[in-house]
């Protein structure tokens, strides 16, 4: 009877068998890639805001302290966003009529708040407290990066759980002296681990890896 399959089928079948395996692995790899890409994590993606506000100028330029605007960062879980008043305290004089700042003036005029887009957005089931991290010697820059060099705000860290645990498991790798927490430029010394261990002891830092530390 006639041949059903062309001789090449042998090759095809072999290829397809191993190909399938490879394809599967490939898919997994792509999935992993997408998941850790900026598209999902948003790392390094500058976020558009109603007012194209740049931390660069006020922080590195004039040298305004973080706490001037994020006033509750030391006593509250949330760092707090400045009320329009605070913006106007400077911008009623400086660039008082720059078109870019119109939304700010508008907000001040008719008492309608500015709607900023959140950059560092934790899921609803994660409870983070700024005040204690500062107290224990974790610098703003450790999580938010060199904000003083960001024309527009973006994330420097994925804020994934593994990223949090990275520090919660080994705080000594990241802690810095308390007086340095607001210092954007502070760089870990070569013997960070030694310093870290010393500070961990000094600040009575524990490995806060219980689930209920962040989830409740």
């Amino acid at each position: 009877m006639s041949q059903i399959f062309h001789p090449s089928t042998n090759t095809i079948s072999r290829v397809s068998i191993f190909g399938a395996a490879l394809l599967f692995l490939g898919l997994l790899w792509v999935l992993y890639g997408v998941n850790s890409s900026a598209y999902v994590t948003g790392v390094g993606v500058a976020v558009g805001q109603p007012v194209p506000f740049s931390h660069k100028h006020p922080v590195s330029g004039i040298g305004i302290d973080c706490r001037y605007c994020h006033s509750s960062v030391e006593e509250s879980p949330v760092a707090g966003l400045p009320p329009t008043e605070t913006c106007m305290s400077c911008h009623s004089q400086i660039w008082a009529d720059s078109p870019i700042l119109e939304p700010v003036r508008a907000s001040f005029r008719d008492g309608r708040p500015i709607e900023w887009v959140r950059v560092h957005d934790l899921p609803g089931f994660v409870y983070f407290d700024h005040s204690i991290h500062l107290k224990k010697g974790i610098g703003c820059a450790s999580c938010h990066g060199r904000v003083d060099q960001m024309p527009l705000m973006w994330k420097v860290a994925t804020l994934n759980m593994e990223w949090c645990l990275d520090c919660h498991r080994e705080p000594e790798r990241y802690v810095r002296p308390r007086e340095e927490v607001f210092n954007m430029a502070w760089a870990p010394p070569p013997d960070q681990l030694a310093l870290g261990r010393e500070l961990v002891a000094k600040y009575r830092i524990r490995r806060m890896t219980d689930c209920s530390t962040c989830h409740r």
Binding site: S13, N35, M161
Partner: protein, 461 residues
């Protein structure tokens, strides 16, 4: 049902043939492959398939609604957190045992009488496991996160919790499913080749051709085939024991009276084989009649399976007795209350029914006349199937509904959706089985040929 045929060989001792006399290679091949290739699809098949397919639709509907609304559509509550889902899971997994047992263990034990029943027993296993595997997924509150039970690199920096029997289940069941699938498929390759060669239609030729993976029946092929098949059999054998042992851990690891017992693994394995063989009989007897396979599935097959049914049945009954005895002997007030609650509590009807189905009914099999009466045997097999389902109901529900704190005691009543999901899976199981017997050789052709008596082999053809 099948008419009692006068020429049915009644001798059921060891020497009795496992294939009716007068068969040659030719006739064997013709008769079996004809079912797939040439014979007209019987009306019974169409009817059966239509019905079971309708039930599959019912299943899909129930699942859809479950995913939209939540597990609240079932009867589960506090304190009975597991209901039909887990009962059915254990039941199906149990049924899925006979196949591998027949194929692997009996193969290794050189029980040649297995040859005519192993193929569809394996198929049955596969389909049963497929049905079983549905339930652990569906019973989850958030099934779309099932993959959290698998250890894979993730951004959460966490892993599954290895102390949980549910994690063991994932591995046990998936392994079992994979191995039995391979076992089944590899076993079928030569026959697929036969179908390829004998089919007249192009499409069939191509499909069977692809499935046959270029089998040419050369000595080399045969040699590799034998090795592979033997290895797989070796692999599958421990699984027969391991799977249901692990499943039984879901309960025996728990602290609940009625679960927390060391007897569970052996008692579950026996129960599984029991249920499995019951299902094989339930299917084999009508199939045999429908397709006139009395020559291949002979009275001896039926008889042997009936004996296994009896043996495993006795083990299971021993399990029940031990459970009760230990509850009393341990002097543990909760255990003892649990047994009394089963005997005389709100679910006592189920418990007594269970004892009747699994304990009393199989005792009839002591009589060879009963074993040879296929109608009666078929009924007993069904009764055992029901009994094994009741056993799981008793274990899951009566243990949970009254455990330690009387204040938290409650009742469990299945809802319509519990039933539709369960019946739906039965439909799925049957639908797959119907497709199998229509499109694949339900009896291993080449293996049957090996048991054709030598005298007959070199006949015309």
């Amino acid at each position: 049902m099948e008419p009692e045929r006068p020429q049915d060989p009644v001798a059921t001792d060891e020497e009795a043939p496992v294939i009716a006399p007068g068969h040659t290679y030719q006739t064997v091949t013709d008769q079996i492959s004809a079912i797939v290739l040439t014979r007209k699809t019987p009306r019974e098949w169409l009817l059966g398939f239509t019905l079971s397919f309708a039930l599959v639709m019912l299943l899909l509907y129930s699942i859809g609604y479950l995913l939209v609304a939540g597990t609240g559509i079932w009867g589960i509550n506090h304190p009975v957190g597991w209901g039909f889902a887990i009962i059915n899971f254990v039941w199906w997994i149990g049924i899925g045992h006979a196949g591998t047992l027949i194929s692997a263990i009996l193969l290794l034990l050189r029980q040649e009488w297995r040859t005519s029943i192993n193929r569809f027993a394996e198929a049955m296993t596969l389909f049963a496991v497929a049905c079983a595997a549905l339930f652990p997924l569906l019973h989850m509150g958030r099934p779309w996160l099932f993959y959290w039970l698998l250890p894979y690199p993730n951004t959460m920096g966490t892993w599954p919790q290895p102390r949980s029997p549910l994690v063991w289940d994932v591995f046990a069941v998936t392994t079992y499913a994979t191995v039995s699938a391979m076992f089944w498929f590899v076993g079928m390759i030569p026959d697929l080749a036969t179908l390829r060669d004998r089919s007249r239609r192009r499409a069939a030729q191509i499909i069977y051709g692809i499935l046959a993976m270029g089998w040419r029946g050369s000595a080399k092929h045969w040699h590799r085939y034998e090795t592979a098949y033997l290895l797989l059999a070796g692999l599958a054998t421990p699984l027969v024991v391991s799977v249901h042992t692990v499943v039984s851990f879901d309960f025996s690891i728990g602290i609940i009276p009625g679960w927390h017992a060391t007897i569970f693994p052996p008692y579950f394995v026996a129960g599984a084989i029991y249920a499995g063989f019951a299902m094989v009989l339930t299917l084999a007897i009508p199939l045999r009649a429908l397709y006139g396979l009395e020559d291949f599935i002979t009275a001896r097959h039926i008889d042997n399976m009936a004996k296994i049914l009896l043996a495993t049945g006795l083990i299971v009954v021993y399990g029940y007795l031990m459970e009760a005895f230990m509850a009393w002997y341990s002097g543990n007030e909760y255990e003892w209350f649990m047994i009394r609650n089963r005997i005389s509590g709100p679910y006592k009807a189920c418990y007594w029914a269970l004892l009747a189905c699994n304990g009393l009914a199989p005792q009839l099999l002591w009589f060879s006349r009963v074993r040879r009466n296929t109608r009666l045997l078929w009924l007993i097999a069904i009764v055992v199937g029901v009994g094994m389902w009741l056993e799981r109901f008793i274990i899951v529900v009566t243990s949970l509904h009254r455990d330690f704190m009387p204040s938290a005691w409650g009742m469990y009543y299945p809802t319509a959706y519990d039933w539709t999901t369960y019946i739906g899976t039965i439909g799925l199981f049957l639908a797959l089985l119907f497709l199998f017997i229509r499109f694949l050789p339900m009896i291993s052709i080449f293996e049957m040929r090996t048991i054709v008596p030598p005298a007959e082999r070199r006949a015309r053809g």
